[in-house]
């Protein structure tokens, strides 16, 4: 099953990855990062490895594995 990793400290919480994930596999995190920004988390479920989240991320915070 493909998966992504999100660098929470690099994430600026723009939520563009959430907007474009066709599988709804990304959500806002419960906790803030060290900068006080609310990052996002990968739910770990049905990821297709489409890379949409990583392609739109303005902060290169997402890596995709297949």
């Amino acid at each position: 099953m493909p998966k992504i990793t999100i660098d929470k400290e690099r994430c600026k919480g723009c939520q563009l990855c959430i907007l474009y994930c066709p599988k709804g596999q990304i959500r806002p995190d419960k906790n803030l990062n060290k900068k006080g920004i609310q990052p996002v988390v990968f739910l770990g479920g049905d990821c297709s490895g489409c890379k949409f989240c990583a392609i739109i991320c303005p902060d290169a915070a997402i890596e995709v594995y297949k």
């Binding site: 600026k12 723009c14 959430i18 890379k51 739109i56 991320c57 303005p58 902060d59 290169a60 594995y65």
Partner: protein
Amino acid sequence: MDKIFGRPKSLRDIPTHYCSGCGHGIAHRLISEVVDELDIRERIIGVAPIGCAVIAYDYWDFDCCEAAHGRALAVATGIKRVRPEAIVFTYQGDGDLVAIGCAETIHAANRGENLTTVFINNAVYGMTGGQMAPTTLLNQKTATTPFGRDAKSAGYPLKISELLAQLSGVYYVERVSTDSPVKVLAAKRAIKQAFINQIEGKGFSLVEILSACPTYLGMKPTAAVKWVREEMTKEFPLGKIK
């Protein structure tokens, strides 16, 4: 498991100063991916603008130079003429390329300099606080057009890409957007083409990228990309212009 997407080598692994959801970050990464894929990291020289991207050279892991506001294409001309083997590009905002640098832009293009320009059109001056840019839309509210841009006093959005495409010296002009993943992929293809043109000695190439500035649109990043897609593209249609 194999990594199928990660940070390109030409993009330094450090945080950027850009606001959340800013299109500059996407454009920086696309240029880095193209530089890696064309294997030109040892040949490339970027010219950074004045504007929010003023320290782009801190983020790219290849040679760069800084130009005074609007003068990137004049500086790039000089670099290319003394180092013709180098692949030289400018990275400029709408204030830089279309307002203060309009003369340098038009003349470099008209001379058909064998250069590549990546033009970030975000419809405002970001760095200085969201003032009107030449590319601000009619009725768009900015710090200097608080009631919306009025053509009577502030003229019309300036379509520099269409204007430059008229010039004999210009080889390639395309307008793209980074408002969605599919458009980001198309933007990357255009940037790659613009670099390949220079490698093949074809002449002046420009890629205009419609880009979100959520901060001075006063919108969340997710609303700002929608605005780019629905409002900006009406005035600035996407596609190959030349």
